[in-house]
Amino acid sequence: ALAGLAGRGRAEGEGALTPNSWEEITSYNNYYEFGTDKEDPKAYAGALTIKPWTVTIDGMVDRPGDYALEDILSKMTIEERIYRFRCVEAWSMVVPWNGFELADLLELAGVQSGARYVAFETLYRPEEMRGTAYPVLDWPYVEGLRLDEAMNPLTLLATGIYGKDIPNQNGAPLRLVVPWKYGFKSIKSIVRVTLTDKEPPTSWNKANPREYGFYSNVNPEVDHPRWSQATERPIGGGFFAKRQPTLMFNGYEEEVAALYDGMDLSKNF
């Protein structure tokens, strides 16, 4: 169901973005369930079984339940979105994702009027995820968005890259992509989506609240306590890759800045 491969994403100036290579996108990953080195996910995520895959949608929805991934996909139109991807570690890529809008999934489940947040959970299957033998984070990995962030048309659930199935190391079979936030918000291998009226806990915030906030919007003016966020190094430039300035909201300011009107972004980091 790969419709609209050439379909335009909604980000301004997207046509100017040159995607990284398949090799770059799939061999330099943070997926701590498979190890903390960048090469670990590619080396070890092959152990992950992704068929069958079920996503539990629960909480404040009209139609809670266990949804088989193929049933979800049969109702979705897959389109291509070429997005900037900015890691909190100050490197970046451009990724041609394939996927559908999170809003469409939420519509499928029917969001109730009191819901204000969406919580996500990654699969936790120790026998297939060697990295979870270590308490690097409090497993399973969890993330969350405010409902208006979740409903924003930029927010994507990705199932592919370059028109191919998304590789395990990139979060197969279903991952979130929130292009104006640091990469760790884009939770991988999602097994649960919960609508709630309270701000849900998020893994990196639990691990180190001083360094990682709930919002984690890309912001060159708010540094990580241990490194500057003003610039980033694009992956793929070899030994002489030049740093480039990081853009406010990772270049998606026009689309999302209004979500944060009146908020102090240095406090709500």
């Binding site: 960048k38 241990r226 490194w227 500057s228 610039t231 070899g238 030994f239 030049k242």
Partner: protein, 206 residues
């Protein structure tokens, strides 16, 4: 076995280390230019050099306990190993300055503002006088003060290991193992002090 290593090591001239030292660097550069360091070679090179420097520093700290508790005598390599560690850590720093941060104004800001960089820089700074006084002339001139000065190795290694711990994201075991090894190797020295000089093997120079 130990005797065999001891006698074999007597035939191994320390200058061999200086010949071998640049080889890993050349190897890393070759890997980096041919894709062997992955798609982000700058960070990989920086980490490999820092890790190698720290590993050699731990080896330097292990020489005295190895001699005292295992009878393994590698003393004659200590200077060469110390200089080797200094060489790799200097390159680690240069890669950070020239390839990684790139922006002069940001370098100083990072040094004063970011604890892991402050700690790493301090550790490096402590190694500079050690490298400068590693020659025979300095050993003779400084006499007893030379031994005292070279105790700076202890805080330098601790700071190096701490630097590694401070830059890890999440709870990671590997940097803690390095810090644990450094603390253990230093604790073995404390023990000698508090229990007095039981044997003659403890007195080491070099």
């Amino acid at each position: 076995m130990i005797d065999w290593i001891n006698s074999a090591s007597r035939r191994l001239p320390p200058w061999l280390f200086y010949m071998v030292a640049p080889l890993p660097v050349a190897w890393f550069l070759y890997l980096g230019f041919t894709g062997g360091l992955g798609v982000e070679p700058i960070r990989a090179l920086e980490h490999k050099l820092g890790e190698l420097g720290l590993q050699i520093l731990l080896l330097v700290l292990a020489i005295t306990p190895l001699r005292r508790y295992a009878g393994l005598n590698l003393l004659r390599f200590r200077r060469a190993l110390g200089l080797l560690a200094f060489f790799y850590i200097t390159l680690h720093l240069l890669v950070w300055l020239a390839l990684d941060v790139q922006i002069l104004a940001q370098i100083w800001a990072d040094i004063v503002k970011r604890p892991y960089i402050t700690v790493g820089m301090l550790g490096f700074a402590l190694m500079i006088p050690l490298a400068l006084t590693s020659n025979n002339l300095s050993v003779r001139r400084l006499g007893k003060r030379w031994r005292k000065l070279h105790m700076l190795t202890y805080p330098a290694v601790l700071l190096g290991a701490l630097h590694f711990v401070l830059l890890a994201k999440g709870f990671q075991i590997e940097p803690l193992l390095y810090l644990g090894a450094a603390v253990l190797l230093l604790a073995l020295r404390l023990k000698k002090r508090s229990f007095g000089r039981l044997g003659t093997a403890g007195r080491a120079r070099g």
